[in-house]
């Protein structure tokens, strides 16, 4: 229906100022955008999207240029004399058990936490999403292999795998965020794969897919153009929540001695370190947990906005 409206616009366009070829050229340029392009036009008008995008921009800015947001240098000293002390001039959020500035650690911890959360989520969605989509769409032996492989990875204990990943030659003497990302991807993909698979299975026999196949669209094209866009919602929901759980999972890994090395500051490291003085100094835990919540919230809002924008049924209203 929207296509008709656009065509009508062209009919009332001034004939004398632009020739038909130019009109066609415009139309040609817009045709491939039909779904994603329209979603984008739809998206950028939504307040939910604008708020979440601004928040994410802010978080990214903190991650990229932490020194702009705090006067304390990255290697600022911690003195036990300040242990668990409350806010002081220049230290608005107080101090940790070790006497480090909570605010400065919050700012410097943004980069590692955001990177772990975002990169892991992207990798998991790309890997798990495509495997799950193929399994659900084609079924048969491909489904059997991928799904059963997922079952095996599901059942592997995270800690066992994490210890092994850490022993890989490239990480043995040089642990960094990629160690954590790799571990979390290896153990995170089956979940997204199953969610995508389930969503694809529920869409693959829908009328519009059958219709597009009848119109001669190839099987793979139908998957990419028609099935996937309609199966995205649960994937987006799971991915945005997982982003938060990955950041927290980094805390658990660090807690078990298989996460980030102590010289890389992260919210996860701080959350797990604050655990022992939870009752004596809850602020040391609440601030990084709060920063994590705001990050997850912005991605959840972004996910909701994207989903709404992609949903052709909702758009009609």
């Amino acid at each position: 229906m929207s296509k008709n409206q656009r065509t009508q616009e062209h009919f009332v366009a001034p004939v004398d100022s632009a020739g038909l070829p130019e009109t066609d050229a415009v139309q040609d340029g817009r045709e491939p955008l039909s779904m994603w392009g329209e979603a984008w036009r739809n998206l950028r008008r939504r307040p939910l999207f604008i708020i979440s995008a601004l928040l994410i921009l802010l978080i990214v800015a903190v991650a990229a240029f932490p020194q702009l947001f705090t006067h304390t240098p990255a290697d600022g000293a911690c003195y036990l004399a300040d242990s668990n002390a409350g806010p002081a001039p220049g230290h608005p959020l107080g101090f940790t058990l070790q006497g480090c500035d909570v605010y400065a650690r919050l700012i410097y911890g943004t980069r590692a936490s955001l990177l772990v959360g975002v990169i892991t989520t992207v990798c998991v969605v790309v890997l798990g999403g495509s495997l799950g989509a193929l399994a659900g769409y084609y079924g048969g032996w491909l489904d059997a292999v991928i799904a059963r492989l997922g079952d095996i990875f599901f059942a592997l204990p995270l800690i066992l795998g994490a210890i092994i990943v850490m022993q890989l030659p490239m990480f043995r003497e040089n642990r960094n965020i990629w160690t954590v990302v790799l571990t979390l991807v290896v153990f995170g993909w089956p979940q997204i794969a199953r969610i995508t698979r389930g969503a694809v299975i529920s869409v693959r026999n829908a009328d519009f897919v059958v219709a597009s196949r009848a119109l001669g669209v190839s099987k793979f094209q139908a998957l990419v153009k028609h099935v996937l866009p309609n199966a995205l919602a649960p994937v987006i929901v799971t991915a945005t929540i997982s982003l938060g759980t990955f950041i927290v999972a980094e805390a658990t890994l660090s807690f078990l001695g298989i996460g980030l090395p102590p010289d890389i500051m992260s919210w996860g490291n701080d959350i797990s370190a604050a655990q022992t003085s939870l009752r004596a100094n809850p602020a040391a835990l609440l601030w990084p947990a709060g920063a994590l919540s705001v990050t997850v919230l912005s991605f959840i809002m972004l996910g909701d906005a994207v989903r709404d924008a992609l949903d052709p049924k909702a758009r009609k209203l």
Partner: protein, 543 residues
């Protein structure tokens, strides 16, 4: 062999089974606790079958110490008290004659004789039985023959039964503190049935101690073990309660929650998360603090380039003086540790807090920086290298390691970092293979109250737990002299001279001594903590 066929345990504890009827069974102990004066205490699942020479960790150790009685026991201050031993006599610290008291029996009625000890020790030492604590018998003459690979000899030539109540022990060299060891788990006697099927026995041990298992199913694996008072017990550790149930916890936090809710009567350690609050949580009269025979150290291996030679010696001193022990024990541990003045522990007989040279263990940041700079002048610290302190993440070490590293960073300007090993076995593998790239956390919990136990196994040349590869002829000579001293007192004086050597060389950096924090419920009274930090369970009474 030893570990197989455990499932087919044949019940042998006849007496214990009778006690089961009296006590109402092990499974519904909540009911029995209400009518009897049994107490509950925290514990962990024993990691090995309950055999004396195979129990080398605290979970099994505290159970064994109640089930069995040795020649000696240790009182709360670590003094030895004769139990089964009537006398232990020697004239040369090498040949001992041990006489036993009359009328001691195992709970199955079998009398405790000289053979009960000699057979148990031979069993523990023999290689074919693969007992984890076999090294405790290494001083006895003939140990080398029975412990060698594929050994066919099964008895140590140094052990000889004279009669029912007497046996002699010959050591391979004089050791003045040897009798002090005889209260340790490894030296307990065993009844004859233990040797017929050790695996089954380890599941259902029959002892001679103040307590015995409450029936066949007293040990519910991973859950709890129920002990009841032994009615025939005649030693000095007389139970003041009807029984002790050890509930197994995987974390101190869970046990602490139970303690607060009066679901647990005695907890032998406060979790890190409650360190700052437990005094107000429990209230006056429900906790106690007492130093115990356990210390914590940092080992800096001798084989590290930057810690060798003169510069290395200066760096060790600098590091030791740059750590503010007072502040860390106060802030991080809230008093659960006490700054160290030596390499042993203040509860040990012969301890001296003011050994010459112990200034190196006092906080002195200016002097530390001077020493560090002197070392830099001799050979500079490798560019870009961090000083790491390795620790196992499956224990509570991160907090203090981070605090020590911050101390070093602030005072010496060195890039100090904690290095987490995910498991204890990984840390130990690197340590025993001598492939450490930095320092590691170490510590020692005494097996028996003796200065030597803190020195010999750790710093003697080639000793089993000498992780840092320390070697000093002077130190080794002093150790040998201390061991052959005529009395334990004279020995202690010489061991303290040996410590002065260590204070100069600092093979490890002593940090602090463990202070046990014991808490108890509203239902019990008379809780005292032993020299080794384990509560004196038999003395606890129910209100």
């Amino acid at each position: 062999m030893r570990l197989q066929r455990v499932s087919k345990v044949v019940s042998v504890a006849v007496v214990a089974a009778l006690a089961l009827g009296a006590c109402g069974g092990g499974s519904n102990n909540a009911d029995s606790a209400a009518t009897s004066t049994s107490i509950t205490a925290n514990g962990t699942e024993p990691q090995n079958p309950l055999l004396p020479a195979n129990t080398n960790e605290v979970g099994g150790g505290r159970i064994m110490d109640l089930l069995f009685e040795g020649l000696l026991s240790y009182d709360a201050d670590g003094k030895t008290v004769n139990e089964i031993a009537e006398s232990i006599e020697t004239t040369d610290s090498q040949n001992y004659t041990i006489t036993l008291k009359d009328g001691k029996t195992f709970t199955n009625g079998e009398p405790v004789t000289a053979s009960s000890f000699v057979d148990a020790w031979n069993f523990g030492a023999a290689a074919k039985n693969a007992q984890l604590n076999s090294y405790f018998f290494e001083s006895i003459k003939g140990y080398d023959e029975v412990s060698a690979e594929g050994a066919t000899t099964e008895t140590m030539s140094g052990l000889n039964v004279v009669d029912e109540k007497t046996f002699t022990v010959e050591l391979s060299q004089p050791e003045s503190d040897w009798p002090l060891r005889l209260g340790y788990t490894a030296f307990y006697p065993l009844p004859a049935e233990a040797f017929e099927d050790p695996a089954a026995f380890g599941e259902n041990p029959v002892g001679n101690g103040p307590y015995m298992l409450a029936g066949d199913n007293a040990w519910q694996h991973e859950v709890q073990i129920d002990l009841v008072a032994n009615p025939d017990y005649t030693g000095t550790r007389v139970p003041q309660n009807d029984g002790v149930t050890f509930k197994f916890y995987s974390s101190y936090d869970a046990a602490y929650a139970d303690l607060q809710a009066d679901n647990l009567d005695v907890l032998d350690q406060m979790p890190a998360a409650a360190q700052k609050t437990f005094k107000s949580d429990l209230g006056e009269g429900r906790y106690s603090e007492k130093p115990t025979a356990q210390n914590q150290t940092i080992t800096i291996p001798q084989y590290l380039e930057e810690f060798s030679g003169e510069a290395g010696a200066l760096r060790r001193q600098a590091i030791s003086m740059a750590v503010n022990r007072e502040e860390i024990t106060d802030v991080i541990f809230s008093g659960a540790r006490q700054p160290a003045n030596d390499f042993t522990s203040p509860v040990i007989e012969g301890f001296n807090a003011e050994l010459p040279g112990s200034e190196v263990l006092a906080y002195n940041p200016e002097r530390a920086k001077e020493l560090w700079d002197q070392a830099e002048a001799i050979s500079p610290w490798p560019e870009g290298k961090a000083f790491t302190i390795g620790y196992n993440a499956d224990g509570d070490h991160k907090e203090w390691v981070d605090a020590v590293c911050n101390s070093l960073k602030n005072n010496l300007g060195v890039d100090a970092q904690g290095k987490a090993y995910s498991t204890f076995k990984e840390l130990r593998s690197d340590a025993t293979a001598k492939t450490l790239s930095g320092a590691i956390r170490t510590g020692w919990q005494a097996d028996y109250p003796s200065l030597y136990n803190f020195l010999g196994p750790l710093y003697a040349t080639g000793a089993g737990s000498n992780d840092g590869d320390y070697t000093s002829q002077t130190f080794d000579d002093l150790l040998a002299a201390g061991l052959s001293a005529a009395t334990a007192e004279e020995g202690a004086a010489i061991f303290n001279q040996a410590q002065e050597v260590l204070l100069k060389d600092l093979p490890v950096i002593p940090l602090w001594y463990q202070v046990s924090q014991t808490g108890w419920s509203n239902n019990v009274t008379d809780v005292e903590t032993g020299w080794n930090g384990v509560p004196v369970y038999y003395n606890i009474a129910r209100k």
